[in-house]
Symmetry: C2
Subunit: 206 residues, 2 copies
């Protein structure tokens, strides 16, 4: 092994070390507490070092952002074997919802926070959404299959997918940002579960 490749590997390992530390602090104590200094302290390096591996905090959180999509896509994977497209669509929705409820911080980072989206990629304009695109494209594919078996007749898949994604996101976002408090006597999980059921039965009639 040449010395150059080892250095390259070490560089990648260091990036991962920083990322792992950032992730653990982020999941333990949330976004606010995940500062450059706390990450540096955790891995026992100086704050300045982190900037040798990440351009800025946005780039760092963009990496976590992508990790979130990886986890989500993984949970979507098994659904490919659901034969009926409409059932697959509904199952996808449930997985999406479940992900948001059990990975609140990740969901927030992926779909609500501005931070990781500000990150300018030099490579491509939309490389930042590589993972998000995959999920969205899969949704569109499922919708087209639904159309083939008679659902959503005459509707544009682009607008339809946006509407469906939005509706789920709306519930998740209100949940993540504490707006379910508007329903004093109801549990957020209850609102979401029932709201979802209503939405599904509405979709089936469309």
């Amino acid at each position: 092994m040449t010395i150059a490749t080892r250095k390259q590997r070490e560089k990648e390992e260091m990036r991962q070390l920083i990322l792992e530390a950032a992730k653990s602090i982020f999941l333990e104590k949330g976004y606010e507490a995940t500062s450059i200094r706390t990450i540096a302290e955790r891995i026992e390096y100086s704050p300045g070092t982190i900037y040798l591996y990440f351009k800025d905090k946005d780039e760092l959180f963009h990496a976590l952002h992508e990790e979130g999509f990886r986890i989500m896509l993984e949970k979507m994977q098994p659904l490919q074997h659901v034969p009926d497209p409409m059932n697959r669509l509904i199952a996808m929705g449930r997985v999406y919802m479940e992900f948001a409820l059990t990975n609140k911080d990740f969901y927030d980072l992926m779909f609500i926070m501005e931070a990781p989206m500000d990150h300018e990629c030099q490579e491509e304009q939309h490389e930042k959404w590589k993972m998000g695109d995959s999920t969205l494209n899969y949704l569109k594919t499922v919708l087209r299959e639904c159309q083939e078996v008679g659902y959503f007749k005459g509707l544009d898949v682009e607008y339809l997918s946006f509407m469906i994604w939005s509706s789920l996101h709306g519930m998740c976002a209100l949940y993540c940002r504490g707006r379910c408090q508007a329903y004093e006597n109801y549990q957020p999980e209850d609102l979401i579960k029932n709201g979802m059921e209503y939405y599904i039965s509405m979709l089936k009639k469309a």
Copy 2:
């Protein structure tokens, strides 16, 4: 006039002065730029003075938060004269959407940001949502009227209102936080407009 009442009036005027400055900076340059120091500079007082009129930054932004709801409620007001409840519901949705698109920062503050919600009211637990509650209660009322003329049969108004609000919010939230970029070749306004039409036609069948 006693001196005490004049002092009280002056105190209220000062609160308004701070609030107006905060609002103008907030609308001009966004949340990030609206710091205690920039507000103080604008009204030509020292930073410390602001804390004599507002407990903390959260209380200040909670006041702006309420102002947002006042503006929105004002735009909802004329819709009370729409006779058909279903048309009124749809009109409400359009006003809501329009508000979000033309008052992005206010919408963000009202429904997405965490800041003004953290604000602990000493008076009542949910005094913070006084304005939001009004809007939500009006939505529920309209939905009940819709049920009286045959729509949404057998559905619980609580869950139904949450689902409808969520769906609209989802589109607004994705718009506010730049997630419409996922649809590279589509204008956000276009996505929302069409997504909304699809949703309305779905609602009518429910």
